[in-house]
């Protein structure tokens, strides 16, 4: 029985949605949302997402979180606060991700009430490499470990989670490695990339991509919060899209750029604040990444509602993007060819 759930990272969309879904569950007593900044919509009706979630503003990087956990008698902690791109600087992002997790886990380790911890991670921990197997399972040893950015943070976070699970074997600890999020409300480097009028790609490479729909993420986290499923799980929609296929579906134009120039473009885009392109992103755009989700499907007896392609289509539809114009061009050509 889950009494009180603490959700971190509720000022961001996916965290707020998870908190809202848990708040809508009558089996859960209280939902407490924490974050460094208040949810943007709390004053402007966006709070509807959060439902009856009680918001507490704390800086995750400080030991304040321990007070909340002990004072509110929290038994389940859902750690959604993993930032994928630097808001101000890379070092604050790292502090937020890694120091924040350390503080949270330190508080959980001390707590006598916490029984279950669910941590959001990312499939980026596997890296992207021509030397790696085509499909990663949870047990695959990463060949080229990511050395920077978000992926490195996630690896460190997972390391602390493993340490915590070892020291507190009585607490059910679940780590969710999420594929790239996709959906109408997702705002990530990748969704911004597809929203550009042209899509620079790495010449000669066509990576395999996988997406998970935001609705499915919310459902997986909700289930993990109310069920005991210890372990590490890959979370992704079924199937694979190639980058070239995504660009075509979006009706965008791919502009192949040689790999070194692509890195330079990425840096320019980063300094202009448009898109974050770390070396990991460049590797993903060259070699792609696919994960195996059999373990998750087995543990939850559930499959994501959206396949990779369906999640991407839903995203395109919400942005009003489609391949209508190229399709019309081909139709016009067929008209010419079949006219006698």
């Amino acid at each position: 029985m889950t009494h009180t759930v603490l959700v971190t990272g509720v000022s961001r969309h996916i965290g707020a949605r998870v908190a809202g879904a848990l708040a809508a569950d009558p089996g859960i007593g209280r939902v407490i949302g924490v974050d460094t900044v208040p949810p943007p919509g709390l004053t402007r009706g966006g709070g509807a997402l959060l439902g009856r979630t009680e918001f507490v503003r704390i800086d995750l990087r400080t030991p304040d979180i321990a007070q909340v956990i002990s004072a509110e008698d929290v038994d389940t902690v859902v750690h959604m606060s993993l930032v994928s791109e630097p808001a101000k600087s890379r070092s604050t992002m790292m502090e937020h991700n890694v120091i924040g997790t350390m503080q949270l886990l330190a508080a959980c380790q001390r707590s006598a009430t916490v029984r279950r911890v669910v941590v959001r991670s990312t499939t980026a921990v596997y890296g992207s490499s021509p030397h790696a197997p085509a499909v990663f399972t949870e047990d695959t040893e990463p060949v080229d470990v990511p050395h920077s950015g978000y992926a490195k943070d996630a690896i460190e976070v997972e390391g602390y989670v493993r340490g915590f699970a070892r020291r507190r074997p009585d607490v059910v600890t679940s780590t969710l490695r999420l594929a790239n999020l996709m959906g109408p409300h997702v705002d990530s480097p990748l969704t911004r990339y597809f929203s550009q009028p042209v899509s620079p790609t790495v010449f000669g490479f066509d990576p395999r991509l996988q997406f998970v729909h935001e609705d499915d993420v919310v459902e997986v986290v909700r289930r993990m919060t109310v069920e005991d499923r210890p372990g590490v799980f890959n979370v992704s929609g079924d199937g694979v899209l190639l980058l070239s296929q995504c660009v075509r579906k979006a009706g965008r134009t791919a502009v192949p750029v040689p790999s070194p120039a692509f890195g330079l473009l990425g840096m320019l885009a980063r300094t202009s604040g448009l898109v974050d392109f770390s070396p990991e992103q460049l590797a993903l755009m060259s070699h792609g990444r696919v994960v195996d989700t059999t373990r998750l499907a087995g543990a939850l007896a559930w499959r994501p509602k959206f396949s990779t392609a369906a999640a991407f289509d839903d995203f395109l539809q919400s942005r009003g993007m489609s391949a209508d114009r190229p399709a019309a061009l081909v139709d016009w050509l067929s008209g010419l060819a079949t006219r006698r």
């Binding site: 021509p130 030397h131 790696a132 197997p133 085509a134 499909v135 399972t137 695959t140 790495v202 010449f203 000669g204 490479f205 066509d206 395999r208 199937g239 694979v240 899209l241 190639l242 070239s244 296929q245 995504c246 660009v247 075509r248 579906k249 790999s259 070699h287 792609g288 696919v290 392609a309 391949a323 190229p326 399709a327 061009l329 081909v330 139709d331 050509l333 067929s334 060819a337 079949t338």
Partner: protein
């Protein structure tokens, strides 16, 4: 493809069953014949336009390895097939030894300086055995632009234990060249002499999956680029396993890259079963060595017999 689908799932209102031949380009018999006199040429154009439309809007599926069956069958194999038929005049034997729909591991000799033999084996298995072969390639391939991703799109993947196991578990036909660069880059004087078979990783994968090993001998690839020398220092600088000298390369420049039109034979031998072993036996090095030797012997014997059968490499000259 619609035609095949229609005959598979007859719907309630008695959907008209279109014979499969309609999909192969012959006009369907029946009322549509008189109403709409479509010639095979028109139909071919319509088919191509439909294909183009699907490609342009991204309406096709690739598997988790990046295999794009439509691009492979309709475009890439179409480009290689004339070379298979008319340049090398490949004859394929023993197709009945390739399982029709279950997992198997095809193990072949590797030669020819450039891995043209892999392409020809792919056409042979597609056209004669109607199977898409999933080859396991060197990681060098996957580091290179264009080549690596064309290789994924045609169904191949990195030679790694995980990928091999995964493909065999899915019941795919997996192909390996255990000689690797030692085989494909060996000098012309060593032709048709099998090199060492790596560490036998392919045997462990087959035993773990309990799938048969089909030995395959390819005769003809040795003569396409006779390697008589090697720029070994330059190759090392470029990070390549070798940089060949042939009678025509690099002397004739790009013309030297045209393969000589040798006569080819590809034979699939009797499958070697592995299902009598326990999957745990894959960790027994002695069993793995013995099976590796057995497969190697089988291929060498096949090669010798096939070589006699073919006679001169460039009939009718020499």
């Amino acid at each position: 493809m619609n035609a095949i689908f229609a005959s598979d799932t007859p719907s309630e209102e008695g959907a008209r069953i279109i014979p499969i031949s309609a999909a192969r380009g012959t006009p369907p018999p029946g009322p549509s014949d008189e109403a709409d006199p479509t010639s095979p040429v028109d139909e071919r154009i319509a088919e191509l336009l439909a294909l183009l439309r699907r490609r342009v809007v991204g309406d096709y599926e690739v598997d988790e390895f990046g295999f794009d069956p439509e691009l492979n069958d309709k475009v890439l194999l179409e480009l290689i097939r004339p070379i298979y038929r008319h340049w090398f005049r490949v004859e394929t034997l023993g197709v009945e030894n390739v399982p029709a729909d279950s997992g198997a591991l095809v193990v072949a000799n590797h030669s020819g300086t450039l891995p043209v033999d892999a392409l020809m084996m792919q056409v042979a298995l597609h056209d004669e055995a109607h199977r898409a072969v999933r080859l396991l390639g060197a990681d060098l391939v996957y580091q290179l632009p264009v080549l690596g991703h064309l290789s994924r799109k045609t169904g191949h993947t990195l030679a790694s234990r995980e990928d091999a196991d995964r493909l065999l578990r899915k019941g795919e036909l997996v192909g390996v060249f255990p000689e690797g660069f030692k085989g494909v880059g060996k000098p012309f004087s060593q032709r048709y002499k099998l090199q060492r078979f790596g560490r036998g990783g392919f045997v462990t994968s087959a035993v773990r999956a309990g799938t048969p090993i089909v030995p395959c001998a390819i005769v003809g690839a040795e003569e396409i680029y006779p390697k008589i020398g090697d720029f070994s220092t330059l190759a090392r600088v470029l990070g390549l396993p070798y940089l060949p000298i042939t009678p025509f390369f690099p002397w004739l420049g790009p013309l030297g890259l045209i393969p000589l039109p040798s006569k080819w034979l590809i034979e699939f031998g009797e499958p070697i079963r592995t299902d009598q072993y326990d999957p745990e036996d894959a960790d027994d090095p002695m069993l793995v060595f013995n099976l590796t030797d057995q497969v190697r012997e089988a291929i060498q014997q096949q090669l010798d017999a096939l070589l006699l059968r073919r006679g001169p490499a460039f009939p009718p000259f020499f």
